[in-house]
């Protein structure tokens, strides 16, 4: 099956072509042709992972100008796991979108973009070398931009898309540089750590730093967090698939894939851990002050990715990967549950508008509860507890400060998710008449939640199964997560989370309006002040430069002569 899986980037393309050429013709069934793609991907990836085999596709001399100009695609257990996650979440999001986008005139285009994303993401995961990685890496960024800006009439969507493009461009640049500077013959991801490939000036540290910058941009870490909350301007199924479960986890995947290189770069590792912890804590606080439902969950994604980065940074790549796996299920669950309420409220996303409306949607309510419990890590019965405890324990063992901070951070997790749950699902409804329900449209959305609920519970039990099949592709695995995970740090983390949850509930009872709409927050998707300032400065320089092109011929002529004289003078004096 691995041989087939190495071609998995093709699986979504037939659906893309069919849907784009208007098949099936009936607008009601638009997108049906795309449905098989992710399901096939899930099945083949799961079988390949279970078999534990490895296969690769290589075409030498594809790009004669590169250090490693081969086309390399590698289907090993690590990529099989990632592709299975992609196939699992994507299948459910496709199903969900049939309901969510049922009345949208651009439904067909939506599914084409989704197929483009799945194909790009599969390319990214299967990439055996930097050249192929760049194709997938940039491709998911472009699909993300197209989907964030999907509703062009909704204010702020193009701006939000451009923010995502700008942040991604920084990461793409780092990766582009990495591909350009590796010594001749290097570029395959699994051999980047060899002495052959790290003999550049700067060595392993510089290469690792470039990969870290690329990963941080994709996974919204550190100062590059800014685009992800505003990416919520896109349709909710996109928020679940791209901006929670798969694409934003690509940064974590890249770092896990290149863990052997990172091990040679202790300073970069320290930076990864520090940025991860800081992002986890800051984003948890930020989530608490959001007035927009989806942005609240988005900051939670940023925070959870911070936990994964911290795990990579302390040298526990498997813990990061395990959390990536469970997080994909429970965060997609949270988003899709939220989407049902938002769809029922005609697209409104403000917490004040949505207050209490969740109680009309039982699937959504249960789904969000299970997702929240997994997020704060209820032991034994939720997946999140297993993976998050792995991270906290690895942190306590290897970098105690990191471990303690991550452990303490769980109380913030409880606070923000408790607040969202209390306001939307527990509070009495402000205005129940604003809810529109259509069972036909809701049905596919509700169905899509069920497997995710199962995943948010059961994926945690698969820890030792994953360990057995991954081999050494995700680094040396020191702690195999046990089925009964009643360790002290884990219980302490859950206790903190539960306390946070309870406090949030109590606060939302006491002052419901302030809880739902903090004075400082707005529900729009405008750029953060500091991002705005940088963009404004850039545009000021741009329009200043553009004004020099005045159309006045004598100025052009004078400018050219002066510049030529200056160049000649500098050249002659510097010889």
């Amino acid at each position: 099956m691995s041989e087939l899986l190495a071609w998995a980037w093709i699986f979504a393309l037939p659906g893309l072509v069919l849907t784009a050429s208007g098949i099936p013709k009936d607008q009601k069934r638009a997108g049906y042709a795309s449905l098989p793609g992710p399901v096939v991907l899930l099945v083949i990836a799961a079988i390949a992972f279970a078999q534990g085999t490895e296969a690769s596709v290589t075409y030498l001399n594809w790009l004669p100008f590169l250090a490693d100009g081969a086309f390399r695609s590698l289907a090993d257990p690590l990529s099989a796991l990632l592709l299975a996650i992609l196939g699992f979440v994507a299948s459910l999001v496709y199903l969900y979108s049939l309901g969510y986008m049922a009345d949208d005139p651009g439904k067909r285009r939506f599914f084409v973009y989704l197929d483009l994303f799945v194909a790009s993401m599969a390319t990214l995961v299967l990439a055996g070398n930097l050249a192929v990685l760049l194709i997938g890496w940039t491709g998911v960024g472009i699909s993300s931009f197209l989907l964030i800006s999907f509703w062009r009439d909704k204010p702020g969507t193009l701006g939000a898309g451009l923010q995502a493009l700008a942040a991604n461009a920084i990461g793409d640049g780092a990766l582009l540089l990495a591909a350009s500077i590796v010594p001749s013959g290097c570029g395959a991801l699994v051999t980047l750590h060899t002495a052959e490939c790290t003999r550049n000036p700067g060595g392993a540290e510089f290469l690792a730093l470039l990969l870290f910058i690329a990963a941080a941009a994709k996974s919204a870490q550190g100062p590059l967090y800014f685009w992800l909350p505003n990416a919520m301007a896109g349709p909710t199924p996109i928020s679940a698939l791209i901006h929670a479960a798969t694409m934003v986890a690509a940064g974590v995947y890249l770092l896990v894939r290149t863990h052997a290189l990172l091990a040679l770069a202790p300073n970069t590792m320290l930076a990864i851990a520090a940025v991860g912890v800081a992002t986890a804590l800051a984003a948890s606080v930020a989530s608490y002050f959001q007035a927009n439902f989806k942005k609240g969950i988005a900051y939670s994604t940023v925070a959870q990715l911070g936990y994964m980065f911290a795990a990579v940074g302390v040298g526990a790549p498997f813990a990061a990967l395990f959390h990536l796996f469970t997080h994909a299920a429970f965060k997609a669950l949270l988003f899709l549950a939220a989407g049902i309420v938002i769809h029922g409220a005609a697209g409104r996303e403000g917490l004040l508008d949505l207050r209490g409306l969740g109680r009309f949607f039982p699937y959504s309510r249960w789904g969000f509860l299970i997702g929240s419990l997994a997020l704060i890590g209820m032991p034994l019965i939720t997946a999140g507890s297993y993976s998050k405890d792995s991270i906290i324990e690895a942190g306590l063992e290897k970098q105690p400060i990191v471990g303690w901070l991550l452990l303490g951070g769980v109380i913030l997790t409880g606070l923000y998710i408790g607040r969202l749950f209390s306001i939307v699902y527990l509070a009495p409804a402000n205005d129940p008449h604003t809810v529109h329900r259509d069972p036909d449209i809701e049905r596919p959305m509700n169905w899509a939640l069920v497997p995710l609920m199962v995943g948010a519970v059961a994926f945690g039990w698969l820890g030792s199964y994953l360990v057995g099949h991954l081999g050494d592709t995700a680094g040396e695995i020191e702690h195999v997560p046990s089925l009964i995970n009643l360790s002290l740090p884990g219980l302490a983390a859950f206790a903190l989370g539960a306390i946070g949850f309870a406090i949030a509930w109590w606060l939302s009872q006491r002052a419901p309006a302030q809880a739902a709409a903090p004075a400082s927050a707005d529900t729009s998707y405008g750029a953060a002040t500091w991002v705005r300032a940088i963009a404004d400065a850039g545009y000021a320089v741009s329009s200043g430069l553009a004004r020099v092109q005045s159309g006045v011929l004598p100025r052009y002529a004078f400018g050219s002569l002066l510049a030529v004289a200056a160049i000649v003078l500098v050249r002659v004096s510097l010889r």
């Binding site: 590169l66 999907f150 920084i170 350009s180 741009s542 000649v568």
Partner: protein, 440 residues
């Protein structure tokens, strides 16, 4: 008695291709109005000559094969776009076809010039054709832009000839000066002046003023040709110069290229919704990449030629898509042209797996090896942030795809199809262009 071709230092294949193209220009001028004044006749007469030149180019020695094939194909696409001009300037279609062929002959002469005199002759044939092509078009704006382009080109030619004189003074020959000869200050100044004179055709900062206005104002069916042909030919000529002179001229080009990338990127960012102006600035930025590549060590000129050839195909694609809309208004394009425009913009922006991405990557590799960290970082930044202006119109273009259900194919569709095919082929197999430039 056997015929011995005079040794001009230029390959016989280049001479043959030039001859074919000049013959084509004469045939078009003599016959087209006799048979019919319709543009399709001009296309039918001109395209075979361009294709024959391309086939001749395939046999040419490396790396000139890439120049001859690339320039001939650019001319072919430009000829195929002529029907778009019929609505605008019906009286001048035949002259336009002849100028396209003649300009291409000049471009091939410039690209494969064996000494500096041939550089001047080729460059002027190309430049005068280009200026006239810019002037063709409705209204006063193309004329005004062409006039500025002409005057600035004349000043630049003055600099080039002055440099030529200095080189002759220093070395006693019109050949490309050798690295050892540059220890003479007169020769060094001459070499830098010649380099900048050729770089005017690339439209690098600070010599881009006339080019930028001309690219913006020219009829879209012709603007793509003017940009592509002059860049491709100039990249080759500069490569020849740099390979002869070595570091002193290369360094100048590296830094001129880096500054050009910055200037063009910021300029394009300011353009907002003005697509034509943005594409003009985009041509400046890409010129910066070419100049940076030319100056980047022994593999630099080949890489620059590869980049320029790729740029030529994708610029031709974008302008083929826009050929029938002089204002650059994208909302009236149908499905076919919208898709072509989107592909062209993706490639210009360097989204893998389009050829624009591979070309950019190739430049970064040589720049890192030879030009140093700072120019490379500038190129990386200019490259990745270009998405902010190229992709801005993309959501609108894609959303418009669904609006137009049934449409008639535009008259320019053969040209669009050829350009799109080239872009797709080069995206999937970038090595093909490479094999025309370098063995192995």
């Amino acid at each position: 008695m056997t015929f011995v071709p005079p040794n001009l230092g230029m390959s016989n294949h280049a001479l043959l291709a030039i001859g074919v193209l000049v013959l084509g220009a004469i045939v078009v001028l003599l016959l087209v109005n006799v048979i019919s004044t319709k543009a399709t006749v001009a296309v039918g007469l001109g395209v075979p000559f361009a294709l024959v030149a391309a086939i001749v180019g395939l046999q040419a020695p490396l790396p000139f094969a890439l120049a001859i094939v690339g320039l001939s194909l650019v001319a072919t696409i430009a000829l195929l776009l002529l029907p778009a001009l019929e609505a605008e300037v019906p009286a001048q279609v035949a002259e336009t076809a002849a100028l396209l062929l003649l300009g291409t002959a000049g471009a091939i002469a410039l690209a494969s010039a064996g000494d500096l005199l041939q550089v001047v002759v080729g460059l002027e044939t190309l430049a005068l054709s280009a200026v006239t092509l810019v002037a063709i078009g409705r209204g006063a704006r193309p004329l005004e832009a062409a006039f500025k382009y002409f005057v600035l080109g004349a000043i630049s030619l003055g600099g080039l000839l002055y440099g030529l004189g200095l080189i002759y003074l220093g070395t006693g020959s019109f050949g490309f000066p050798k690295a050892a000869q540059l220890s003479n200050t007169t020769t060094l100044i001459g070499a830098v002046l010649v380099g900048l004179g050729i770089a005017f055709e690339l439209a690098v900062f600070p010599l881009h003023w006339g080019g930028l206005d001309a690219y913006t104002a020219a009829a879209p069916a012709l603007a793509g040709y003017v940009m592509s042909a002059s860049k491709l030919a100039a990249a080759f000529a500069l490569g020849r110069l740099v390979l002869a002179t070595g570091v002193p001229v290369a360094q100048v080009l590296v830094w001129v290229g880096a500054v050009t990338i910055v200037w063009g990127t910021f300029g394009a960012l300011a353009q907002g919704r003005d697509l034509r102006r943005m594409l003009g600035y985009s041509a400046v930025t890409h010129a910066g990449f070419i100049a940076l590549a030319v100056g980047s060590g022994p593999s630099g000129p080949i890489t620059a030629a590869f980049y320029a050839a790729v740029y030529g195909t994708m610029a031709m694609l974008v302008f083929a898509a826009l050929a029938t809309t002089p204002t650059g208004d994208i909302s009236t394009l149908g499905r076919f042209r919208s898709a072509a425009l989107a592909l062209g913009l993706f490639s210009l922006s360097g989204i893998p797996p389009t050829p624009g991405f591979w070309a950019k990557l190739a430049v970064l590799v040589v720049a890192w090896q030879a030009a140093g960290a700072i120019p490379t970082l500038i190129a990386v930044a200019g490259g990745v942030f270009s998405v902010l202006y190229y992709l801005r119109p993309i959501p609108e273009i894609f959303a418009a795809l669904r609006a137009s259900a049934a449409e008639r194919l535009p008259v320019t569709s053969p040209g669009i199809a050829l350009a799109a095919a080239l872009v797709i082929i080069l995206g999937l197999f970038p090595g093909l262009a490479w094999t025309l430039a370098r063995a192995g």
